[in-house]
Symmetry: C2
Subunit: 518 residues, 2 copies
């Protein structure tokens, strides 16, 4: 299954490089259905680590998982007006429920036409809030904190693996609260969960902020986001958390009797991250040699390659490698919980990765590949640490340890390897984050002049531009037309300063990030 193809460099063609990394690292491939992908075992193992970490964090903040139907009655989608605009367009529509044999093939049975068409969920607000209307009756039922892991279909015209696919996987949280304040707190709590997940596990630095009215979720009161910068200086929205106000509650009759005896509409929120974040992970850290994975999310954290020239020594080398693997695994298992400071909203703690995530140590025992081929394969797959154990090294009680992130090599005494691996992995995790953050900081530009603004957006690495903006959708739209840059977010931690809208010159203290985006 492993590909021998040469990777296009980032400098040559960034888009092609991205596709090449996915191919050579065996992450995914295009499926027989246009715009859909097959997530291959190695790619899916990374997604499973995403799920394990995020699922734990979602549960630790009091949410429960549930499962809602894939198919949504067409009429549901048209009940919330702005939601129709946003989602009832490019959808997969089920119109029939039977095929019949004909001329050696199968055809759709015209007799089996549905009276009301069904839509494959493009997001689940409508069906979930319809359900919530039966689950909530009293203030005692609130807050209702639900999450679902599911597949989603949106009929995208231009697709790219992970970043934009017709079908994708995600989690979508949906909650109902008694007051706006509680819904606000939930929105920022979950955005903070996403920040911790992105920064502490994926080593992707993100900026938390508020979306503009044009960029908010269809049907939301407001949308908050975490925005990441890719290596080509483009932005990627990595996760969003929405306060849906009382819109959906009013449409789907999610009401509760409050403590004061009055019947009130709930305030609801929704929030999600998807397999799109796999795209962010790939683009943020990988290099011209292939995938680079942060240790905390890597399915294989350490690969040990025993090397023998003399076939008679093979058994001995394999045994030594197996022994070392056992020691290294034991060393990793001892890595304790990592405490992460909370930010906005309620405090979020990120414990150690769950059981299976640490301790993934692999010995490459294959004998039909050369040593070079083995090195090359694990490099392409982004395994954080490679340990080379040769005959001479074994005699000398030494191994060579190679870091994937910077390619640095060091000799380590065999009996000290196990003790040092967790420290090395932590160093890699930190280095990846620092490198990505430094890159972002180097590519953040505060610009107040529209000519300079346009010029920056024509640069090879356009980066993030922080500018004053009057808040009007007209300016936003014109800038987009003229530069292809969209507004990303109004960062929460950005100081307020007076200035003039980069486009129309109106006085304002509002600043926003503009960037070209995925």
């Amino acid at each position: 299954m492993s590909s021998k193809k040469k990777i296009t460099t980032r400098a040559e063609d960034y888009s092609k490089w991205y596709l090449d990394v996915i191919e050579v690292a065996d992450l995914a491939e295009n499926a027989a259905v246009k715009g859909c992908m097959v997530i291959k075992p190695y790619g899916y193992a990374i997604w499973e680590n995403f799920q394990a970490v995020l699922d734990r964090m979602i549960k630790e903040t009091g949410h429960q998982n549930a499962y809602f139907p894939l198919l949504i009655p067409k009429s549901f989608l048209s009940r919330e007006a702005s939601h129709v605009e946003g989602f009832a367009k490019e959808c997969a529509v089920v119109t029939h429920y039977r095929l019949k044999a004909q001329d050696g093939g199968v055809v759709v049975d015209p007799e089996a036409k549905l009276t009301e068409e069904l839509i494959i969920r493009p997001t689940s607000e409508t069906i979930i809030y319809d359900t919530f209307s039966r689950w909530v009756s009293s203030w005692r039922d609130l807050p209702l904190l639900v999450n679902q892991w599911a597949n989603i279909v949106r009929w995208e015209m231009r697709t790219r693996p992970f970043l934009r696919t017709t079908e994708f996987l995600w989690q979508e949280g949906h909650t109902a609260h008694a007051t706006k304040e509680e819904a606000d707190a939930e929105v920022s709590k979950m955005l903070e969960v996403y920040r911790v997940f992105a920064e502490e596990y994926l080593a992707i630095p993100v900026i938390k902020g508020l979306k503009s009215e044009s960029e908010k979720f269809a049907g939301a009161l407001y949308t908050t986001t975490i925005e990441a910068m890719m290596q080509d200086g483009k932005a990627l929205q990595a996760g969003t958390s929405h306060n849906l106000g009382q819109h959906f509650a009013e449409v789907f009759e999610v009401k509760f009797a409050d403590q004061d005896g009055q019947l009130k509409y709930c305030w609801t929120t929704s929030w999600g991250v998807s397999t799109r974040m796999m795209g962010a992970l790939i683009m943020c850290h990988s290099d011209d040699k292939g995938l680079v994975l942060p240790p905390k999310i890597a399915p294989v954290k350490v690969v040990i390659v025993p090397i023998w020239k003399d076939e008679a020594k093979k058994a001995q080398m394999l045994e030594a490698a197996a022994k070392l693997a056992g020691e290294v695994s034991a060393g990793l298992a001892g890595v304790g919980p990592v405490s992460v400071g909370g930010g906005a909203g309620a405090a979020v703690t990120a414990g150690a990765a769950p059981g299976g995530l640490l301790g993934a140590v692999k010995v490459d025992t294959r004998d039909h590949l050369t040593v070079g081929e083995k090195f090359y394969e694990w490099e392409k797959k982004g395994v954080p640490l490679r340990i080379e154990l040769g005959e001479r090294e074994l005699e000398a009680g030494q191994v060579v340890v190679v870091r994937r992130d910077d390619g640095s090599k060091q000799n380590l005494p065999l009996d000290q390897v196990a003790g040092q691996v967790s420290g090395l992995l932590e160093a890699i995790q930190t280095a990846l984050f620092e490198k990505a953050r430094n890159f972002r900081e180097a590519n953040m530009h505060e610009i107040e002049d529209y000519t300079a603004f346009k010029k920056q957006l024509e640069a090879d690495v356009p980066g993030f531009i922080v500018s004053h903006w009057c808040g009007s959708a007209v300016c936003e739209e014109q800038i987009k037309e003229e530069t292809k840059a969209s507004t990303r977010c109004m960062p929460f931690d950005l100081e307020k300063t007076s200035g003039k809208c980069i486009k129309c010159g109106t006085e304002t203290d509002r600043r926003i990030i503009f960037a070209k985006a995925y």
Copy 2:
């Protein structure tokens, strides 16, 4: 959310009892789309435990997870002739990819008609073997051992929550091998995984056997199954494992260069269990008071109910309950791995349930419910052990411990509870399995006379009938028409004896189980 409805007894109406249990235990409810269900948080927590245990067992036997598309081109379904017959009928068909606004609602955009219709997967053999054809080229790529967790849609006319729903959740394993022998071994290995899962975790005794030609999977060489008996004496197929021969490999060109240099077709297998097994779990153990859960799969294993009459004592009681909960949790965490003997095929070991599964101890601190209401709620939800901690008990250093399975109560010294809980849970797990096995044994009938056969099938609890059968589909069909009983399986451990076909009288040494079935 909790229902106060009275449960119909099994004796009154078994079908209604089943629906009532699902309702009062908060497991699932009907969705807005006909035949689909919402799996509620408590029901989904049970499913997550299913997944955690089974996923670990699937990985321990060398399989990797991956993800394949939801949508399958219509033409794929017609490529394997017998598969068409079995699956290309009651399917959800996607014909359009866009809606448009019209008269305040949305309608299907006739311009957005797909050139080839897409089918929502009713099972994934076709799309997966099409993919495998790109993954396999050499004998070194074999065996290819893949599993996927996914949602499935089959357009069922008569649905029942968990047992038969239009959309359901499952895992489907798909493997490719070099030889028939290796595929055979895989089929029986995974059937054994299912047996261990059913018997050791769900406490459901099952019979492993071979399906008849009429009952096998559409496109398979043969199908093996685990069959369980429900409390009404009907059978439920709880999991299947198929040898697909080379059929799909030939149709989808899954070929490999063997060590002898020749190009050969792979032998493939598939195997799956679904949310249907939740139905089996509910029907196997529950009683007229509601759900009964085996401890190993219960999301909440122990509930502690502190009881205070004097509001001034509340804080003290809650504190004592919390302390006890901590001790009980710690006691459960110490429960070591359970070793399970392998059966047919490769040995399968079932370790302890993963991290979160043991140690689910809940303290019911709610003060708007009476103690009786709390007891009633946890009883309906099938929590295996209830610990009652009253003021007087606390003073006396005693608690009352109540088993859900048999309702038995005992006083235990407070300082011994934590040490005894894991033993009590194991006793419940064993008792549930023994009870179900005894029930099944009491309702197994070896019958050689067709009049007696028909009479038995009219009994309140028809049970399983073991009879000689000539092997012809005609006899099978006639029996089904006359008695509504279908063939369930030819048990692997059934001794061969000579006799006459229960229907046509032909001499045969083949015996099979007949039963009414879900």
